[in-house]
């Protein structure tokens, strides 16, 4: 993997902050975009732009083909058998809400058991808390140990569950969950399963056939694509049985004054004019990632995180959250600087051109169950280097000096 060549594809990495090189370590929040994706979106508007599915003029036909082609690419990317199982949404949050509204409200009733984990991002937490409250269902949590891994024996809780939803990779600890086992257990119990792949799909091979989930959600902007485009994968039989959650154009095949017939999947779930240019950008992002190879991306990030675990771990007063073993975690490293609030860490580093995230990272229950105060997070991607980690550590030492800790 040629990181220098990759870096050249990202125009933003040439930007200087206060005369210093930009060091972008906030990939867990969103990734930067390569020129190939920027051009794909811009060329779409320059050459092809039209509404899809509803015109027979040449531009509409071209736009429709491009939109469908992106669906095919995403389908192949996650090894789905059928592109109809790919629904385009705005983001992972909307994908998960679609499942909650269309599947959850119909299928969950009083006394049913929903199981999620303590490490969920709020987008895979709040919908189930709301649904459980509304329906009188019980919500149980797979609990975490002090390293942030799901505790031994917790999968017992899946017994008798109707629905199980877990994150593939934690956006705080970087822990990679054994979603194959979780989904297999769910399936043996007759429970429907959802995997939040927001932090895995951009960074490692995600194969829905081997995971065996019923639903999988992820978001384009964390994997080189524009904002405003997300994906929900759903098993065809389940999607067919569900009612739509947004109503309007494109999602019906027949509309009458007092009745209608739903369109087939995926169109049933894509009411209104979708984010066509976003889908085109996502297709181009998938091409870009596949060209590098997901195995190579994972290997690169594993190397970076091992390096960071070792170097950062050696700094006095810095404690790293999550497992030490880089094979159990993704390219995310979250830490505390003793005596300095994470906001102040991020704010001082920002003046040096380093972009990091601080706070609860939309995962407050995880912080509470692991007994953590707000934290600082560095998250890596294809364009990051060991030299950037060295520069980060150098500046963290400066922060400690400024605060006299």
């Amino acid at each position: 993997m040629d990181v220098e060549k990759i870096r050249n594809d990202f125009p933003i990495l040439k930007r200087k902050i206060n005369g210093k090189k930009l060091i972008y370590l906030d990939n867990g929040a969103t990734s930067q975009k390569p020129i190939q994706v920027i051009d794909a979106v811009s060329n779409f508007y320059k050459k092809n732009n039209a509404n899809i599915h509803r015109g027979i003029h040449i531009l509409s036909e071209e736009s429709t083909l491009m939109y469908d082609d992106s669906r095919n690419k995403v389908s192949r990317f996650i090894h789905s058998k059928n592109p109809e199982e790919i629904i385009f949404t705005r983001n992972a949050t909307e994908s998960i809400n679609l499942v909650m509204y269309s599947w959850g409200k119909e299928n969950i009733s009083r006394g049913d058991k929903i199981v999620i984990s303590e490490m969920e991002h709020h987008s895979n937490l709040i919908p189930w808390v709301v649904l459980a409250k509304e329906k009188g269902a019980t919500l149980e949590y797979l609990e975490l140990d002090k390293e942030g891994l799901i505790k031994e024996g917790e999968l017992e809780k899946i017994k008798g569950a109707k629905f199980v939803s877990v994150v593939h990779v934690s956006n705080v600890t970087g822990v990679i969950n054994d979603v194959e086992k979780i989904c297999r257990t769910a399936s043996e119990e007759g429970a429907v399963s959802l995997v939040d792949a927001s932090q895995s799909a951009p960074h490692m091979k995600v194969d829905i056939q081997s995971i065996g989930c019923d639903f999988l959600a992820f978001t384009g902007h964390k994997m080189l694509a524009p904002t405003g485009i997300g994906v929900l994968y759903g098993k065809k039989e389940i999607l067919d049985s569900m009612n739509p959650f947004l109503f309007g154009g494109e999602m019906v095949v027949e509309a009458h004054k007092y009745d209608m017939r739903w369109n087939s999947v995926p169109y049933k779930f894509e009411a209104g004019t979708p984010n066509i240019s976003g889908a085109v950008g996502l297709g181009s992002a998938v091409d870009y990632l596949e060209q590098i190879g997901m195995e190579n991306i994972r290997a690169h990030e594993k190397k970076l995180v091992s390096y960071a675990l070792e170097k950062l771990g050696a700094v006095n007063g810095i404690s790293i959250i999550g497992p030490q073993d880089s094979s159990r975690r993704s390219g995310i490293i979250t830490f505390e600087v003793k005596g300095v609030h994470p906001h102040d860490v991020a704010s001082i580093l920002s003046e040096e051109g380093i972009c990091l995230r601080s706070g609860y990272h939309c995962a407050q229950p995880l912080h509470e169950s692991m007994g953590l105060q707000p934290t600082t997070r560095a998250s890596f991607y294809i364009y990051n280097t060991e030299e950037e980690i060295d520069f980060l550590i150098e500046n963290l030492v400066k922060v400690k000096k400024i605060f006299g800790v």
Partner: protein, 124 residues
């Protein structure tokens, strides 16, 4: 942020002013910034329509703590009406920092003022 402003903020972070409680406070309130976990509780003592004492407790970043220190100082001698009229420009003046290009830091700086307003809106 320039060096002098930063040093002053860090000094206040380490040695805050008016840190503590007023056991028989007339007005008190607590607010959290859920994104970052900052938490501020403010205590106000009012006599003849004037704030005669102000204290705070809490945890947060250097900006929110410094803002709470300087705001509680500033409040002494003011009327509740004057406090209700304070806005984000006033807070930046009190802090001696321009945060107009740092919207998230501005949220930290504003938390103590919002807490003070919430306290005064409550019943005595």
């Amino acid at each position: 942020m320039d060096e002098i402003a930063r040093e002053r903020i860090i000094e206040l972070y380490k040695n805050p002013l008016n840190f503590g409680t007023i056991p028989d406070a007339d007005y008190t309130a607590e607010l959290r910034n859920s994104a970052c976990g900052d938490i501020i509780r403010i205590y106000l003592q009012v006599k003849n329509n004037k704030i005669i004492d102000a204290k705070f407790e809490g945890e947060g970043c250097a900006i929110s703590m410094a803002s709470a220190s300087l705001l509680t100082d500033f409040l002494k001698g003011k009327t509740p009406e004057e406090v209700r009229n304070l806005d984000k420009d006033d807070i930046q003046k009190i802090l001696g920092m321009d945060l107009s290009r740092n919207p998230s830091r501005l949220r930290c700086a504003l938390l103590p003022l919002e807490t003070a307003k919430k306290a005064l809106a409550g019943s005595k």
